[in-house]
Symmetry: C5
Subunit: 354 residues, 5 copies
Amino acid sequence: MHRLFKNRSKKTGLPPGALIHIGEKKLAKVKITAMEYSGTSCLEREIPDINECFPLKNDQMTTWINICGIHSIENIENIGKLANIHPLLLEDIMNTDHRPKMEDFEDYIFIVLKTLTFNEDDKRIDAEQISLILGQNYVISFQEKEGSIFTPVIGRIKNGKGRIKKMGADYLAYALLDAIVDGYFVVLEKMGEYIEDIEEELITTPSMETLRKIHNVKREILFLRKSIWPLREVINTMDKGELPLIRSSTYVYLRDVYDHTIHIIDTIETFRDMATGMLDIYLSSVSNKLNEVVKVLTIIATIFMPLTFIAGVYGMNFKYLPEAEWRWGYFAVLMAMGIIGTTMVVYFRKKRWI
Amino acid sequence: MHRLFKNRSKKTGLPPGALIHIGEKKLAKVKITAMEYSGTSCLEREIPDINECFPLKNDQMTTWINICGIHSIENIENIGKLANIHPLLLEDIMNTDHRPKMEDFEDYIFIVLKTLTFNEDDKRIDAEQISLILGQNYVISFQEKEGSIFTPVIGRIKNGKGRIKKMGADYLAYALLDAIVDGYFVVLEKMGEYIEDIEEELITTPSMETLRKIHNVKREILFLRKSIWPLREVINTMDKGELPLIRSSTYVYLRDVYDHTIHIIDTIETFRDMATGMLDIYLSSVSNKLNEVVKVLTIIATIFMPLTFIAGVYGMNFKYLPEAEWRWGYFAVLMAMGIIGTTMVVYFRKKRWI
Amino acid sequence: MHRLFKNRSKKTGLPPGALIHIGEKKLAKVKITAMEYSGTSCLEREIPDINECFPLKNDQMTTWINICGIHSIENIENIGKLANIHPLLLEDIMNTDHRPKMEDFEDYIFIVLKTLTFNEDDKRIDAEQISLILGQNYVISFQEKEGSIFTPVIGRIKNGKGRIKKMGADYLAYALLDAIVDGYFVVLEKMGEYIEDIEEELITTPSMETLRKIHNVKREILFLRKSIWPLREVINTMDKGELPLIRSSTYVYLRDVYDHTIHIIDTIETFRDMATGMLDIYLSSVSNKLNEVVKVLTIIATIFMPLTFIAGVYGMNFKYLPEAEWRWGYFAVLMAMGIIGTTMVVYFRKKRWI
Amino acid sequence: MHRLFKNRSKKTGLPPGALIHIGEKKLAKVKITAMEYSGTSCLEREIPDINECFPLKNDQMTTWINICGIHSIENIENIGKLANIHPLLLEDIMNTDHRPKMEDFEDYIFIVLKTLTFNEDDKRIDAEQISLILGQNYVISFQEKEGSIFTPVIGRIKNGKGRIKKMGADYLAYALLDAIVDGYFVVLEKMGEYIEDIEEELITTPSMETLRKIHNVKREILFLRKSIWPLREVINTMDKGELPLIRSSTYVYLRDVYDHTIHIIDTIETFRDMATGMLDIYLSSVSNKLNEVVKVLTIIATIFMPLTFIAGVYGMNFKYLPEAEWRWGYFAVLMAMGIIGTTMVVYFRKKRWI
Amino acid sequence: MHRLFKNRSKKTGLPPGALIHIGEKKLAKVKITAMEYSGTSCLEREIPDINECFPLKNDQMTTWINICGIHSIENIENIGKLANIHPLLLEDIMNTDHRPKMEDFEDYIFIVLKTLTFNEDDKRIDAEQISLILGQNYVISFQEKEGSIFTPVIGRIKNGKGRIKKMGADYLAYALLDAIVDGYFVVLEKMGEYIEDIEEELITTPSMETLRKIHNVKREILFLRKSIWPLREVINTMDKGELPLIRSSTYVYLRDVYDHTIHIIDTIETFRDMATGMLDIYLSSVSNKLNEVVKVLTIIATIFMPLTFIAGVYGMNFKYLPEAEWRWGYFAVLMAMGIIGTTMVVYFRKKRWI
């Protein structure tokens, strides 16, 4: 629930652009890393103060400033001033409950989206918000905490592997997007395995616990949808070829991420249909079991009620009860009871109840 | 129900533009507050008579006239004449059952929308209708009753905090919109907590009462949707950049409200899915409980019916009933009964019914 | 059912434009009223023969011809010739099973729609078809029977109240549309009250009868939707500002009717969701009741089956049955029974079944 | 099932345009009828050989060639050559499992659609495929078997009734379309009556049979939808006014057929909702009945179990059983039993179970 | 499950365009076949090394290179270099979990789609990915393993049957698409038969097994949808006439494949509705059976409980029990019991329970 809707009410009444951190504080200290690279050189360093990054190097270099920790108002404000970012965006960066979106401010593009991880322990999806600012020759990324999501991208820049080092800031932004979307596949995979486990359980040993799991899965799928669905529009807008900050050679890559996003959304929808299907199966199997239980009851009652009645009849204390006098009365009655019981069993067998 | 559809039939047969107050009268006396401000000065006063406000001060000043109480036909008519508002709009202002909408009349823009509050006592959402008229250098707002929704905006104008004082009437209209939309977040949050409570109850102690709560929540969500959904279109239209009354610098703010609205609508849809999911869980748990109850019944019947039958057999009054004569007959029968009973219990345990 | 789909098969095989009255004949005799008015004068008269109306007065006057009764082929054909109406439209006018639509034939606009009334007795909605032909300076309206739906419009023209008398034929057409749409609000209100009644009944005394009412409401909502939904498109098309017969000053009024229609459609959708919700509640309460009933059964069986068994044991006729000989055997058994019974009751209380 | 998806696999691996008849052979011998008419003359004849029709008469005459029977490859190939039709269309004509569609090949327009009939015996809808080729001055129609669907059109041409004789090939194509769409109304009507019957049955004597009927109706509605839905797009495309083969005077007629199609689709959707509603009612009534049955069981058990227990107590063979010695013991016990039984009945009455 | 979402996580962290085979390795050794043909000549050969194919023959010849086996990175990289294909596409070719798509890179068009086969044994659908690259005068196709899907196309080229040999690479690409889509019809047909079997089973002998089959069918339909749905867009894009590589004469053929795809999607939706319908029927029949079982129980209990009670009454050991003394007491009681039993039976018959 908490992840589906965060506490934003403390913002009520504040002027637009007022900076307030919404969400959990996931990091003790803000950590800023700057990376400057061109086709030939590459410099990475951790910097204690954001002021050191600015002014940016010349146009030949691409600068990537990665900020881990977004709870410090002072810090964010400072960046805003140095990089000339609109106050509303600063507000969005600090609000971790933001819907994925993209906005184009001629000088820079602002993108906000989520990284997701599947928590194996409680089978829930954890989300972290990532904001990206893509300028002419720089990218500024904001993370809630240090994570490994961008590690491969850093590696590729440092090793000079692939084409990333030779290409500009727009390709870097794409590479970050791609890394995040790749992370979704991992979540989907684990989710898929979890769904498979539940399906298995559903067929072998369905219980109230299974129902709770299905309910949980449905909620996680809702959360997934809410986190990823808007991304489709975001990337589609970027892909339309009308943003001057994105070079034409980068479009083919954006289209690739777009395809991945569509694929992911398709899979989420499939998961959703599967979860609904599982609920139907669960309900059906509960009904089936009830049938089984009631059948047992009916069989027992149908066999023993008449027999008990007969026993009751011959247990009556009438003075004149002719059969009771007979020599073989007892055995005759036992035999009659045996026949009645057997007939019942045969009847139920014919009806396929046993 | 009342809130889902108000009594409009008294308007039937009246000419268009005929003024009739539809809704509850929430205030004894109309209260009018006027606020005139520019970047440097600010004057707020309560005025007894609407005529005092007009003619408006010169173009340097922004005038905000806030009218609390819309049940007085005379008053509304007067404002209509002074501010030159189309009679159909006056009709809309007095009809508190209006769907949120925006209309552009070159000279002014008319916006009608709802403020919502979550009533903790009966867990229902109360709505109040707000109408805004945005002119070149003035905003007229109509509220059903005095509320605190605009207090922070008033505060910011008086304190000169933020950029509101320096900007024109369009920014003021935005600030009012933003205050209202911010109020929705508070409602959503309380709604979310309520849903969380019900989910908790659903897992621990589901009862007919829980069902009633789920039903209630679903109805409130319907009401929320009906009240907020049209707002999306309203703000989207304003955001398209074709309204001459809205300066280009204000668009980025409108886009921000638009994002919030989309976010809210997303959350409402998520709530809806969750409510549906809760109903499914409820039904499943009712079925499960039925199964449990019937299992108990079946176990009891299956154990005691055969035993009672045996007791019945040896209660028959046959003259010749050999076992009855035996010395250990009674104990043999008791033992047989014990064995049968134990077998049943073992069988049910194996079937996982106990 | 009848109202959801009328018998049209008698038209099969006829050429297009062949005039056949489809629907119930609701009136014995056709009644034609003509009204000619300008800003200053107004003449209303009932005319026996449609020929008297034509040729129309000069352009200064607006003529409204209201025809009650559409079952007379001869009459309709005559009007068609006099007013130069396309035969296909005449066919549509006589076919009361027509879907609301608007068609623009440069010289005139043809509109067909439904008036609805809520029948309090059988809680059903009755529909009547209204066709309007709007020409340069005339409106011809066709009703199935005399009704009071247009009475307020007639009144306003005669009294010269409002702006209707000063404005042209397009405003008259709008006024008629508005009167019809206003009528929908009355139906919705009564429908809403009916739904409220059912909800009340659902919580207090749900029965098979309640189910039937819910089913009935759902059907009426289907009928409402089918009758009103297409109107949205009709008015939207008129509102687009491309019809030469509609003056620009009339658009603001059409937009108002459009808003009302959207509001009505919203409410119908809300009703639909509520009806679905009620069905869910009904089903849940049936399940709940079953649970209650089965609980009673299980409690009774679980208490008395063991007790009866014990009584049965001591009712056996064994020669040697030691307890039977005891002085206090009877009371000991009674006490044991009491303890078992009490234990059961305590157990069920703990399980919250009692 | 068969009608929802026909056996097309025999086409797999064949080149496009390979002629294979898919569907049932409904006619022994192909029958070709040719009709040539202008405003003044009309000639109808049955011709044994398709070659006789070509070359077509001059432009003054409209020629309609109606071919009943599409299973003869040779025949279809021949027509294809003579009328210069694309091989893919010939393939489509012979494949009776085709989706309704329209294709514009400058020289001619190709339309394929379905005629439907409601089979009263097994309450199923039978479909027949009709293909139309509309050229400058000719129409070629292909039917699976001889039917009466075009009889009224033929009659109107022969009688010279209506405007059909005076108008060209495009009007003829419209007239055929109109005849087919009129046939749908007949199917809908019978379907509606059938639904009404089931609703009646549902309220009076619901049974497993009723469920099967509902299932059947749902399937037929699926089939209806699949057959008619694409027609909407077909006629809409024709109606857009961009086909040179269709004269502008014919558009008003096409728009009329379009309205009918929309109306039919609306009704199908309504039927669908009604079928779903009926299923809900069925399920509810099954649940209700279960409740009734279980109530009876519970009442019986609750009354007789305690009584039987009491009887059992006094049936115990204890030596010392004081009540048994009493003079009025038996009557006292009988009375006690009577009181307990009556109390139970009163209790159930209060609970409204009886 | 596996087929609904494949293991892609091993790609996480790799740069875009990094080649990794995702999916099962279905073939031991890559097999490459090259086919060069013009209207007059045709040469087919299996080639051990991809380098032999390049450079391509002159423009007069159409070259089709068919590669079976996509798990060899080296091989795919080689082809990429020789045919100048974008690295991202090579990545897509090797990733068998790709969503069907089409991309236009001026020099060539890239298409990826699925061939499907219905596995009769476990009633599941197996998918194989096919990638096509269509250049000016060549087509390169990639298959996961050798299959018979393209055999008819090869045959037609070799025999010179049909128009394929005379037309260019675009027609060849169409022919391959058509062959794949034709394969879908076979799958649908078998699926349809399977659904029919389940429906049959549902009516005659519904069991938990039937439920599992329905669940399975629903999952297969989900898989079908996911595999085929995007194809609609793919072919639609190709059909729009804006691709320079596709000659205008080929469009009519593409439109034909498009029609088939729509038809297939329609059928999938119908299957989906049918599967949902079957689940409803299943649930209803389970409920019905429960009713039947409970009825039996109630009848038995209602008949024998009162009778057993009566027997119990006369089994009481009261000293003074007048009826027990009567000469005909026993028979009178038996008769009374008979009457009560018969009355019950008659009552149940009247209630239509028996």
